[in-house]
Amino acid sequence: MLLILQCTGESPDDLSWLLHKHPDRAQRFDLSFGRAQLFYPHNSRDRCAAALLVEVDPVALSRAKPGQRSTTPLEPYVNDRPYAASSMLSSAISQVLGSALNGRCEKRPELVDRPLELEATLPVVAAHGGGEALVRRLFEPLGYEVHASRLALDPHFQEWGPSSYWSVKLRAKTTVRAMLEHLYVMLPVLDDEQHYWVSENEVEKLLRKGREWLAAHPERELVTARFLKHQRALERLAHERLDADGAREPAIGDAVESELEARWSPQKNSDAPGKTPPLDARRREWVRDALSARRARRVVDLGCGEGKLLAYLAQHSDVSHVTGVDVSPLALEIAQKRLDRLGPSQRERVELLQGSLVYRDARLVGFDAATLIEVIEHVEPERLRWLEDAVFAVAKAPIVLVTTPNREANAAMPGVGPDTMRHSDHRFEWTRAEFSAWCARVAETYGYRFALHAIGDEHERYGAPTQAAIFEQRSDDRSDAPAIPSQPEVQS
């Protein structure tokens, strides 16, 4: 990566005094991730330009990744890190140009606060999530004239579109110190990827470098959030496991979904948001009431995810035992943590199992009720048959509760388009007719009867945001015969 600082005007040479680097020498500095060279491409009467060339050692970099999961398996080895301006350039600025950044100039202290005609050139800037507009939003409020030109991605393959890199020039009459401070903070913000672990230390750094200007900056929140990449984001990143071909696998977590569902507005002039409980809470209440009305004591929650329903039932219902089953070991870990916060007499009523509804599982036999809350839509429609077999033919709970999004209601949910779904892992979202047809087929095939329900405030045209069904085994189909032969199965 490269930064060229140029000074024009009456006494351009002031730059070299401020940088505290001799204009006729090339100097080398060792850094933790490679080395930096500082040299002057220009030093004449009308301009002085200093180049900070950072040579990143790609091998060392790939080995230094601090336990962070990469986006693709080969990402640690094949990436733009040695070339695009990033937090590593900020580090280089603070190590090579530390005195200028901190406003010290022993030989010519009067220069420190003198505004100069300055120009910073960054040949490669990854302006993620905003492009040129982002560069402008970040630098124009600080008084810069911004020139940005976009780099081609690959001239041989125009259909791949443009790159997300920009060649950027920033011009302003300002002090060297201010410009370096701005760059120091904004380069990682533009790049949005830190090369070091973010710790509380970084808060200090941000406050120190930005104390004079950050508070008034209109993008203060973005700058803070990106610079500080708080731990939660790092955690989430680590949790997103990625396929070798680069396709992102959605995490099962339902934060986005909840946010979208919160936008549900059945009436135009609905009450101010926040008066009714969120939809997932209303689903939990519905489940509790349905279980309690049917006196279900032993319940299995299939697809328990992070265990919110389990914790809720343990705290707020009269079920005596609830088993949570999920296919994701990670979700179960999170659920485990949630449950461990319960009191001992609640905790002992809950149990977690890894399970999968593709497989028949004898452990799921013998419950009074099974719940499939916002689960079926995470299964490919043509694979539902496996789930049906596991739930209705093997586990065979006398009561089965199912909830799933009502696709029709998406129309009244700002942010959900007609062709999009509420969660990136949803494989389908059904209309009320589709859900009802599925329920009818399942009930007929496996000997249940069912009743449809709606959860959430109903829209006169689209219905409620969540649709639900209660399946109850027909008494003539209740049999005590074990669904799975009791013979010991030999592995393999």
């Binding site: 002057y40 690959d154 396929d243």
Partner: protein, 858 residues
């Protein structure tokens, strides 16, 4: 006092042995003398295990709970187990009787009926026993009671010893069950229901290479020159034209050691009749009785004694083959009980009859998950088919079908057609094809049980003996399968990972073919093939002749009758248009090449690479590969310009400029490298398939064919549709020929210089096992330029390369062999129509191994 001969206690092996005696009678001493320590479960010892106090009566419940579950596990494994507890109370014995019943083993009692005073005295002399005499006397009394009720409770073979002397001199003899012929390794020819079709029987025996000596009731099978043995699966009698001849041939051959015989239900009924008991003469029994009435009484007597002692099943060939007339569930194999006998004779019926008045049978084979192949008859079907390691050999000869034999261990089926229909069938012969899944629910053979994989997976393979994958890796794979993979019925094969060659020492190179040649030479391979690598995306392509064939075999069909699956078990294409187009064209090519006909299969599984790389990896290219090049090129252009300006000012940046120029050139080479594997895909017609293995078809996995065969078949596909199928360029190298080795190296250099990804070096045979174990089935040797997209653009710089050489390939190699072994086993299970669970176990285990973190650059 007379001194009788010492008592010999005969115990069936396996059995559950209860020592019955009061405390102090000497049970533990007796047990120690006659049984291995691991065979004896002592209640005292278990009290100690659970409570640190062997005498703690308070710990009894816990101790017995553990004891019971150990006994349960041992009996499931067919191990003789001795319960060293007083066992004097009926309630104490009850759980053990139930265990015996559950595992179909006899429960045997050895009663040490010693004088009660002796017991009391012994107890007193033990410092750790706190029982009073009253307790011991009570136990003694209970023991006496037990003697009267043991038989009623279901305890067999009660041995009662009354004196110290008798106990001290007794000996224990273990007797193998009659069904246990595990030491007979065959080879065998198992013959299905004969029902008096003696003509067809002789003809079939002739086909199998046996000679029949003598004639009529004296006929016998002569010893086979290759030591083969005939196994009659029962139902030799009744219905057909020559019952007595067929039966005589079987009886004589068993006598002469050239045949084995298990009873069928028809023999059982005949035996009952001959024993003088009342039976309804029906279902063809009248034919047997007619013939026996005409035969000499001595023959009838021989038949009676023969049938009387005939077992109903045998376990053969180290437990790998089980023969029983109506089949046998896994937990019944090698066991003896009324339930086992009934199952072997009659199978499992549902207690209802069908529209033809015949009992509706429970399809036990659909749920069979055992390891042994079960050969059975009893239910006539049109054709014999392997299903879940079972094969029904009753092809209804007497009904005008055929008489069928299984050759073991070849697993081949031989049939001779019936000369005519001797009796009309009561109902049409069942089609033996796997029952297709109904539209409503899953077919039984397609069910997967979580319990069988949750604790980890162990697969025995023909390459490495056993591959074990632990539960946490399997847990990850279960999530993959459940959330992202194709339907399990289509997840047939997960290709194994491939290890690279050892690191080259030649300057500028990380990989070179010399290391591959040396490796295979070192392993004792004489011939290898260099196959040019296709830089695309791995794809496993299933092509069926029709949707009907697909449904019949895989239980799930799509319109284009085929699937394309990635190396991690997912659908290759997001939409089905591309898949439909490629599969359809592939099918046409396979038809044109005549491969379905020639290989006698309605489906083929191909191991391929789909090109171009950019078709599948578009996102990766746009988000990772191209950006790195774009950023690098822009960076170096600017850096060189700045440095040139500084240089022109006379500043000493020469070395830096040179280094920057060198680094800049690596970025250019890198961009060239990835671009070679990209071309614009507008529709499926721009995609190409490069096949390199034919994995499996209906009856065979092709892992026994060499790579010459595989490549020749793939060439035929390329000939049939050159626009779809790409040939694999290759060079065959004899490892003893220096010139061939050198020219192969040169070929690799030329090809990789010209932009090829590299090549894969394989031993000539698909499976190669050397003196020191399995040999790598393939090693990849990647080109210098290609490796830039793996190790990074600048990896070739001397300083970088020096550090990158420190890579270890041994873990990757071990992994490659394990995954390869799973793949080979999975394919052979697939080809022999094993249950989905058994095919799935191999695929799931491979996915699990793939989730183990390894260096992705290898």
């Amino acid at each position: 006092m007379n001194d009788p001969s010492p008592t010999i206690i005969t115990l069936p092996d396996p059995s559950l042995v209860l020592l019955v005696a009061p405390s102090g009678a000497g049970k533990s001493t007796f047990a120690k003398r006659h049984f291995r320590p691991t065979e004896v479960l002592s209640s005292d010892a278990l009290r100690g295990w659970v409570s640190d106090d062997e005498t703690s009566q308070e710990a009894s419940a816990d101790a017995f709970s553990v004891l019971n579950s150990i006994a349960d596990k041992r009996l499931a494994r067919g191990l003789l187990t001795v319960i060293d507890a007083t066992n004097v109370q009926r309630d104490a014995r009850k759980p053990f009787v139930a265990l015996g019943k559950k595992h179909h083993v006899s429960v045997v009692a050895i009663v040490l009926d010693v004088d009660v005073d002796t017991c009391v005295a012994r107890n007193k002399s033990r410092p750790d026993r706190a029982f009073g005499a009253r307790v011991v006397r009570g136990q003694h009394e209970n023991m006496r009671k037990a003697l009267r009720t043991l038989d009623d409770e279901g305890v067999r073979f009660v041995t009662r010893m009354k004196t110290e002397h008798e106990i001290n001199t007794a000996s224990v003899v273990r007797e193998r069950l009659r069904c246990d012929l595990r030491d007979r390794t065959g080879p065998f020819d198992v013959i299905g229901d004969v029902h008096g079709c003696a003509d067809e029987l002789c003809e079939l025996l002739g086909e199998l290479g046996y000679e029949v000596e003598g004639s009529g009731l004296d006929a016998t099978i002569r010893k086979h020159p290759e030591g083969r043995t005939v196994v009659f699966l029962g139902d030799v009698v009744d219905r057909g034209p020559r019952v007595a001849d067929a039966l005589a041939l079987a009886i004589n051959s068993v006598r002469d050691g050239s045949a084995l015989f298990v009873q069928g239900n028809h023999e059982a009924k005949l035996a009952k009749k001959l024993a003088g008991r009342e039976v309804t003469v029906s279902f063809g029994l009248e034919r047997s009785l007619e013939e026996l009435a005409a035969a000499p009484p001595s023959f009838v007597e021989r038949v009676r004694t023969f049938l009387d002692e005939r077992p109903t099943h045998y376990v053969l060939d180290r437990g790998r083959l089980v023969v029983a007339h109506a089949g046998l569930r896994q937990e019944m194999q090698g066991r003896s009980s009324r339930a086992v006998r009934d199952f072997a004779l009659y199978g499992e019926t549902r207690g209802e009859t069908d529209e033809f008045g015949l009992p509706v049978r429970f399809d036990w084979a659909a749920n069979y998950r055992g390891k042994a192949l079960v050969a059975y008859g009893h239910t006539p079907a049109e054709r014999a088919e392997f299903r879940n390691e079972t094969v029904c050999l009753d092809t209804g000869c007497v009904y005008g079908g055929a008489l069928t034999a299984l050759r073991w261990p070849e697993r081949e089926l031989r049939s001779v057609p019936a000369r005519r229909q001797y009796v009309p069938p009561k109902r049409p012969l069942a089609s033996a094809a796997a029952p297709s899944s109904s539209d409503r629910s899953l077919a039984a053979r397609d069910r997967l049980d979580l319990a069988s994989v949750l604790g980890g997976i162990t697969v025995e393979t023909p390459v490495v003996r056993r591959v074990t994958v632990g539960p946490s890796l399997v847990a990850t794979a279960i999530e993959q399968v459940s959330r992202f993979c194709v339907d399990p019925r289509w997840l047939l094969y997960v290709p194994p990972t491939m290890a690279p060659v050892e690191t080259s020492t030649v300057e500028g190179f990380l990989e070179r073919p010399e290391q591959a040649l040396e490796y295979y030479a070192r392993c004792g391979t004489d011939r290898v093939v260099f196959e040019l690598k296709h830089m695309g995306s791995r794809a496993i392509v299933l092509v069926c002749r029709s949707p009907e064939e697909m449904r019949a075999r895989f239980g799930l069909a799509n319109e284009h009758a085929g699937t394309i699956v990635t190396r991690n078990g997912r659908a290759f294409f997001k939409d089905s248009v591309n898949e439909a187009s490629l599969v359809t064209r592939a099918r046409n090519a396979i038809e044109r090449a005549g491969l379905f006909e020639e290989l006698r299969t309605p489906w083929l599984l191909l191991d391929t690479e789909i090109l171009p790389w950019s078709a599948k990896a578009g996102e990766l290219l746009r988000l990772q590969y191209a950006p790195a090049a774009a950023a690098g090129q822009a960076h170096f252009a600017a850096a060189r310009e700045a440095l040139s300006l500084a240089a022109s000012r006379g500043i000493d940046v020469g070395a830096l400029l040179a280094r920057t120029a060198e680094r800049a050139s690596t970025i250019d080479s890198y961009a060239d490298a990835y671009r070679r594997y990209c071309w614009t895909v507008r529709g499926p017609e721009d995609l190409r398939i490069a096949p390199f293995h034919l994995l499996a078809g209906q009856k065979a996995s092709f892992t026994d064919r060499d790579h010459g065969w595989h490549l020749a078949q793939c060439d035929r596909l390329a000939d049939a549709d050159p626009n779809l199928f790409t040939r694999t360029e290759r060079v065959i190298v004899s490892l003893t020929d220096e010139a061939e080795r050198a020219s192969a190296v040169q070929w690799w250099l030329d090809k990789t210089d010209a932009g090829a990804e590299g090549c894969v070096v394989k031993p000539w045979t698909f499976i190669a096992i050397g003196e020191r174990g399995p040999i790598q089935p393939a090693l990849k040797v990647r080109g210098r330029e290609y490796l830039r997209i793996i190790y990074g653009p600048e990896y070739t710089l001397p300083d970088n390369l020096a550090r990158l050489r420190e890579r270890g390939t041994s873990a990757k190699r071990a992994l490659a062999i394990r995954e390869f072994s799973l793949g080979v086993e999975g394919l052979s299970r697939l080809a022999r129509n094993d249950s989905l669970a058994r095919v799935h176990a191999c695929a799931l285990a491979t996915l699990a191994l793939e989730s183990e973190p390894t260096d992705p650059r290898l």
